[in-house]
Symmetry: C2
Subunit: 357 residues, 2 copies
């Protein structure tokens, strides 16, 4: 490996780190004025209970360390989900949860598996562990062939984003149940978008110790800025994962805010209803403009236009201060992932598209 | 390895995780009424600017992802420290920073080194990487012998808490500078307590690419509940470490609060002055009660009583709702680490000690 002159310290760094690219998150413009439909944030403000709970913690002060196990959050989430609190691990965003699970199961030379195209972070997590990644291409209809469910010598963990990003499609719980019956390898079902979908695999955790489910408050609860996610798994798994997490991985404000958010299920249902209505309208209008649009079970839609390059559309939208996500998956293809915003934001997008096309 | 019945999934988990104990943080009683002098929290509320800044973020909303690089914080910290912003990596507490550095440098079968007794987390970080730990005993006068500074085949990272916990002692910058001149191995100087000390090793980072310094806002800035720490290192190191961190490792509230805290150096100096005055009084009074007390450069003191077992004193204090930290280091010995609280808290401690002794 070639090091820059004077960079002796690189010779002490792990080669897998030096050679990797690193995950590139979607653009987060720090200035205002954008219609931001590129990172699947919720366009509506979170439940008002969140700010109340955070303000209350601020009033009591931040000098003391937070509860290492986020007990209040786990109790509230447990009630909402119908599991016991010791089935839940809280994390600093679901990325933290994915990191913890990966570090617990995957060592150097081990292998992970994930479908493709999907969340790009999975391969980064493997690279950080100096492990190998195996990806299995989705079929044309966004189902998964049998090779996705096969045991393999060093395979230690399977990731499945469900609903999937960028496609917004789902593998049904029935199919997953049928396949995991014959699988011993742990599978992490990443349900970041499940609150916008028709079903969840939560039941499977109760039945199978090798099924883990991750959730985030970033999307459906409108708390991307707060960093809070959690894992649901059987208690003997959670117990081991606690050793891997940073002692105080969730701060006092985030714990309070996340607890308040989960406690307001009425807010969630109302927000979900609005986003699903806008999603249906967005899909219809995009089709009217000639786009190929996949049916979505998430808070975004995946589309491309048969006559125009996706990258060009992305760039022209950006010039008009409308940000969508241009995704290019080597060996597979590209397209646009468009977050479902407010009705006004979607109108802004559609107007810009009409000008461009 | 013996797995509980039905725990097939343990056979997929990394053996180093299964066999480790995990880090046990100090007690965090969730009920009130304790004089809490066990986890080195600051007894004074943080700068009022912190709550103002957090409230302003709350007002703007939490729907959007935070800045992945905490740019505002880095700019403010850079001004305070006299370095460029690209010399700074922000983390979810300094534990996150230590984790990131460890994952970048230390792979399976590699080795880390740290002094003993010191921060117990270092060996846990090594275990999580399935790496080996080598500890070098402090000399009787809390200096470090030459073996601490020797290169060694698989040695990839040296940790040095400076000031050290539990002793509150320091290795002087002059000594460190003299030793690292002949060392190529990266050294992470953990300056969690440095704002209570007489000097810092910050200068050394400018001169040596293998020196990294971690800081936390938990102690001197009274923000243990907020989880914010940072690393100072040369930009070509920071660039690699960014690949290892979670994309959005610091939340929007923490970034705003930490930035506000750093911007109020007047508050820091005033709080430091109060804590140092109370520390001197606490040391004097403990000595008056017959304790052996080490001179401290931190916001805690390390002591033991020649006639009474430390564990017994700890337990009797706890029964009186006074929490101090009982530390027992196998192969070395035990003692009490007592955080410098407010004057009233220290009076409460001293009164209880007078009853006990």
């Amino acid at each position: 490996m070639n090091y820059p002159v004077g960079c002796m310290v690189y010779s002490f760094m792990r080669p897998n780190i030096l050679k990797m690219e690193g995950y590139v998150p979607g653009e987060q413009p720090q200035e205002d004025g954008y219609i931001k439909l590129n990172t699947n944030e919720n366009p509506y403000p979170p439940s008002p209970r969140v700010a109340e709970a955070i303000t209350e913690v601020l009033r009591r002060g931040l000098q003391k360390y937070p509860d290492p196990l986020a007990t209040k959050f786990r109790k509230t989430a447990a009630t909402v989900l119908g599991v016991d609190p010791d089935w839940i691990l809280a994390g600093n965003g679901s990325d933290d949860v994915l990191t913890i699970v990966t570090r617990a199961f995957v060592g150097e030379g081990d292998q992970i598996r994930y479908p493709y195209p999907s969340y790009l972070l999975y391969s980064v997590l493997a690279q950080l562990q100096n492990a190998d990644s195996e990806f299995v291409l989705f079929e044309k209809d966004w189902s998964l062939g049998s090779s996705f469910w096969k045991e393999k010598e060093r395979l230690k963990l399977i990731y499945l984003a469900n609903p999937n990003s960028p496609s917004g499609t789902m593998i049904s719980k029935d199919v997953i149940k049928r396949e995991i019956e014959h699988l011993r390898c742990p599978i992490l079902i990443d349900e970041a978008y499940v609150d916008f979908a028709e079903e969840s695999c939560l039941d499977l955790v109760r039945e199978y110790e090798h099924v883990m489910i991750s959730r985030t408050l970033s999307k459906s609860y409108a708390l991307a800025g707060l960093r809070f996610g959690f894992l649901i798994a059987q208690p003997h798994i959670i117990r081991e994962l606690r050793k891997v997490k940073d002692s105080y991985n969730c701060d006092a404000l985030a714990i309070a805010g996340a607890t308040a958010a989960l406690s307001d299920q009425e807010w969630l249902q109302e927000t979900r209803r609005k986003i699903l209505a806008t999603r249906e309208r967005l899909m219809r209008e995009l089709r009217g403009l000639g786009f190929d649009v996949l049916p979505s079970q998430a808070n975004f839609v995946w589309c491309s236009h048969p006559e125009r390059a996706s990258k060009e559309i992305y760039e022209r939208l950006k010039a008009r201060k409308v940000l969508v996500r241009y995704m290019n998956y080597p060996g597979w293809g590209d397209g646009l992932r468009i977050t479902v915003g407010t009705d006004a934001e979607v109108d802004g997008l559609l107007n810009s598209l009409r000008e461009i096309l």
